[in-house]
């Protein structure tokens, strides 16, 4: 479904104002996702959300009842009370108890997310302005991945494709049901690797390596974007993960090894200027000096 600007304006107006059942409402909540982590986080999100809804209804019900009943125009006389230690105590303690109730599952989830041990494979991700480099440490595959949306679509000279801005030249292929550990770093500025369906987001920090992991349960294509402002084309460095069965993954690895790995891209980034043209695939240790230079005479 390729929407032109005008069509989607129509959709917006009708969809949101009339909300006819025939018109699909665009996504409005966190995806449940396809990993255990994403489900845990979704549940946590909904839990806190409903807690807030309940508290909100409570507070606003009292407030609006008062606004409705205790108005001068209805002849309501002002009471004189202005203090009650008991009440203050109650509404300090109850929220506190609620918070503890929230903190328990949150702590459990947090510990789980940080546990990168016992992974089945490791992928090293290096972020550049404005593309990603992937290095499959166990399988010896490595390549660049950057935006594949043509320039014309961005500049409104061609109709926008279904995956406008969320398509890349080289997808990250991962096996399902395997604990994949990511090592994340950056070459120039801070970026962040985020795929909502996997509930994985972590900053890629130049000079440091962050760890995270995922275990995808369902084959499919999952799309995300860079989530830390990284300069001009921050909005144009998407991430696409294709999760496949193990045998398909093995096939892909074999194929990839056969072809030339690399990042010549047909990118549609508006006037992409690659600051890191000289960087090779082999690793980033030797980029230290370059990085340091960049930081100092940027």
């Amino acid at each position: 479904m390729a929407l032109t600007g005008r069509q989607s304006l129509f959709a917006a107006l009708t969809g949101s104002l009339v909300a006819g059942p025939a018109l699909a409402i665009q996504p409005y909540n966190m995806p449940v996702g396809v990993t255990e982590t994403s489900r845990t986080i979704y549940d946590l999100h909904m839990l806190v959300f409903w807690v807030c809804v309940v508290i909100g209804i409570g507070v606003f019900a009292v407030m609006f009842y008062s606004i409705w009943k205790h108005r001068k125009s209805r002849g309501h006389e002002a009471a004189k009370f202005h203090e009650s230690t008991l009440v203050e105590f109650v509404w300090t303690v109850i929220p506190f108890a609620i918070l503890i109730a929230i903190a328990v599952p949150a702590t459990k989830a947090m510990i789980d997310i940080e546990d990168t041990a016992d992974s089945d494979m490791t992928v090293k991700i290096t972020a550049y302005q404005w593309k990603w480099h992937y290095d499959y440490l166990d399988d010896g595959v490595s390549f660049y991945s950057s935006l594949a949306t043509p320039r014309d679509e961005i500049y409104n000279e061609a109709p926008k494709g279904e995956h406008y801005l969320l398509q890349v030249d080289n997808e990250v292929v991962l096996p399902v049901n395997k604990k994949v550990r990511f090592l994340l770093t950056a070459n120039d500025v801070i970026h962040a690797w985020w795929i909502p369906d996997l509930a994985v987001k972590r900053d890629a920090i130049p000079g440091f390596v962050n760890e995270m992991w995922t275990r995808i349960e369902k084959p499919g294509v999952y799309r995300g974007q860079c989530a830390e402002l990284c300069g001009r084309d921050h909005g144009f460095m998407p991430i696409v993960v294709r999760a496949v069965e193990q045998d398909e993954y093995d096939k892909w690895v074999a194929e990839k090894k056969g072809s030339v790995a690399g990042g010549a891209s047909t990118t549609g980034n508006p006037e992409v200027t690659t600051t890191s043209g000289a960087v090779d695939d082999s690793g980033d240790t030797d980029d230290l000096a370059a990085e340091q230079d960049r930081n100092h005479d940027a």
Binding site: C52, M63, I67, E83, A199, G231, G235, L288
Partner: protein
């Protein structure tokens, strides 16, 4: 009204007129007025930038601006709104009201008061002029994270020095407020009798003096990293880019309470007036404010859950963060209890106060959600965060402050504002605001990152709504300009001393407008 004559006499007697009056003034009311106008102007400058952002985001694709310029707009919008619009507005209110509320002759250090204001226009100029420098204006976000911000072109040192100047101005303003409150209260005005607005400002000023220098230190390190070869934020030299974030947020988190606490003070002034009932739980309000201030120093890394902190750090910051909900809740509950069984009327200030309390609470709820570290992995740097902080900044702070402006405008100008226009302003603001920012929750949850000039198609509808809302919201503010100008020009009904039926406190015993020198002899309180 004799008051008006006194006021005018005072001018003719001893003050330069015209522009020199404003440049050389040491009078707290004049300086308050200057602050308020400056902030108002900056609100429109920052707002215009917001409208540019919203225009680009109306549809997918790049239509109006270049991505780099878009980032500059985001950056400057954030900086100008925070440092140019909201903080000066709050200081303006403080200047006008604190001496009157505590029965002081003026601010404690009147010359320095002049300086704190007059640094601002120069600092603002230095920031805005970067738009015309080679390499463009700063585009690294208002949070100025290195290494990205180190890539800024010629604008870089101007950004840094502008932050230094803004900091100096805030520090001097705060020192003045603290000295005034601690030293110039009228006899009998004990600390626990002070109006809550004075209390929240005392605590805010303390926060400012404590954290603005830290920001100055952070940007200074960035300056030397760029020009003098230091390596604070470079791993290659043993530093860490994330260290900047720690130092920045040690300033930045207290900063958001610096922004909102004075507005909380305003709300605590408005609600009792229109409920015709004393503020419920005065002392618990004071303690809650102090607790918020204390906690705000120890939660900063909730902005940094995704940087890869050790687990213990994540957990600690999560616990501390959600804890702030407790004292903030106490404030919300106290306001509600103040309304309870009151005798309420709903003039514009009260409408703004209620709007502010309700919508701030929503912003607080999303804050609590963000505070839950695992969930923040999904929220972080998405439009959910943008929605959160506009619900707190715009409704908590800006709309709260606007309520204060309506409350005190008759006191300042001696004229009642146009009630009908005020109400229209209120309702348009509510509609526009919610239309702009409510859909942004959806956008963020659905996965739209912040600080992007273009987006995928599934985000189109909510963005369109948001953009339409922003225009309604933005242009509704022109009504406020009109209302204020009308009062300033002396149109409209004359205001009494008390102005509002339920008003209590020293400021309402003075004529409207108050004489140039409010309390020539300190009033006796109780």
């Amino acid at each position: 009204m004799s008051a008006v004559t006194t006021h005018d006499d005072a001018h003719h007697e001893e003050h330069p007129s015209g522009i020199m009056r404003w440049i050389t003034t040491t009078n707290h009311k004049d300086i308050g007025t200057l602050y308020l106008w400056f902030s108002f102007a900056m609100f429109f400058v920052g707002g215009t930038m917001a409208l540019i952002i919203r225009t680009e985001l109306f549809m997918p694709g790049l239509q109006v601006v270049d991505p780099q310029f878009f980032n500059s707009m985001t950056t400057l919008h954030g900086l100008i709104m925070v440092f140019g619009a909201v903080m000066p507005a709050a200081v303006g209110l403080a200047n006008w009201m604190i001496p009157i509320m505590i029965g002081a002759p003026d601010m404690a250090l009147p010359r320095m008061n002049n300086w704190s204001f007059w640094i601002l226009p120069f600092a603002g100029f230095m920031l805005v002029v970067t738009l015309f420098l080679p390499g463009g204006a700063p585009a690294g976000g208002w949070t100025m994270y290195p290494p990205l911000t180190l890539q800024t072109g010629d604008a870089f040192p101007f950004l840094i020095f502008s932050v230094h100047l803004l900091g100096m101005s805030s520090i001097m303003g705060s020192i003045n407020i603290i000295a005034t409150i601690l030293n110039l209260r009228a006899p009998g005005m004990t600390l626990m009798k002070m109006p809550l607005f004075v209390w929240t400002w005392l605590i805010t000023a303390f926060l400012l003096v404590a954290v603005m220098p830290v920001l100055a230190g952070a940007v200074t390190m960035m300056l030397t990293d760029k020009y003098f070869g230091t390596a604070f934020f470079t791993a290659a030299g043993g530093g860490d880019p994330v260290m900047f974030q720690h130092i920045f947020w040690f300033f930045g988190h207290p900063e958001v309470y610096i922004i909102v606490l004075p507005a909380f003070g305003v709300l605590s002034q408005i609600v009792p007036v229109f409920a015709r009932k004393p503020l419920f739980g005065y002392s618990s309000m004071v303690y809650a404010t102090a607790s918020i201030a204390f906690l705000s120093f120890i939660v900063w890394a909730h902005h940094m859950y995704t940087v890869g902190m050790p687990l213990a750090g994540q957990l600690y910051f999560m616990y501390a963060t959600v804890l702030i909900s407790v004292p903030t809740g106490v404030k919300v509950f106290n306001w509600t209890a103040t309304m309870w069984r009151g005798s309420m009327t709903f003039e514009t200030p009260m409408l703004f106060a209620i709007g502010s309390i309700v919508l701030f609470t929503l912003g607080g709820f999303t804050g609590l959600m963000l505070g839950v570290a695992p969930a923040d992995f999904q929220y972080h740097d998405s439009y959910f965060v943008v929605a959160h902080f506009h619900y707190t900044l715009v409704t908590g702070a800006v709309i709260g402050i606007m309520g204060g402006v309506y409350l005190w405008l008759p006191k300042w100008t001696g004229r009642m504002y146009d009630e009908k226009l005020g109400k229209i302003h209120f309702w348009l603001t509510m509609i526009g605001f919610n239309l702009t920012f409510f859909p942004q929750h959806f956008l963020g949850l659905a996965g739209m990152p912040r600080r992007i000039p273009d987006y995928a198609l599934q985000f189109t509808d909510w963005n369109m709504m948001s953009s339409v809302g922003s225009y309604i919201f933005g242009f509704a503010q022109l009504i406020l300009v009109y209302v204020v100008i009308k009062c300033v020009r002396g149109e409209g009904e004359k205001a009494t001393n008390e102005v509002w039926e339920g008003a209590e406190g020293l400021e309402w015993t003075l004529p409207s407008p108050p004489p140039y020198h409010s309390f020539t002899t300190p009033p006796e309180v109780k």
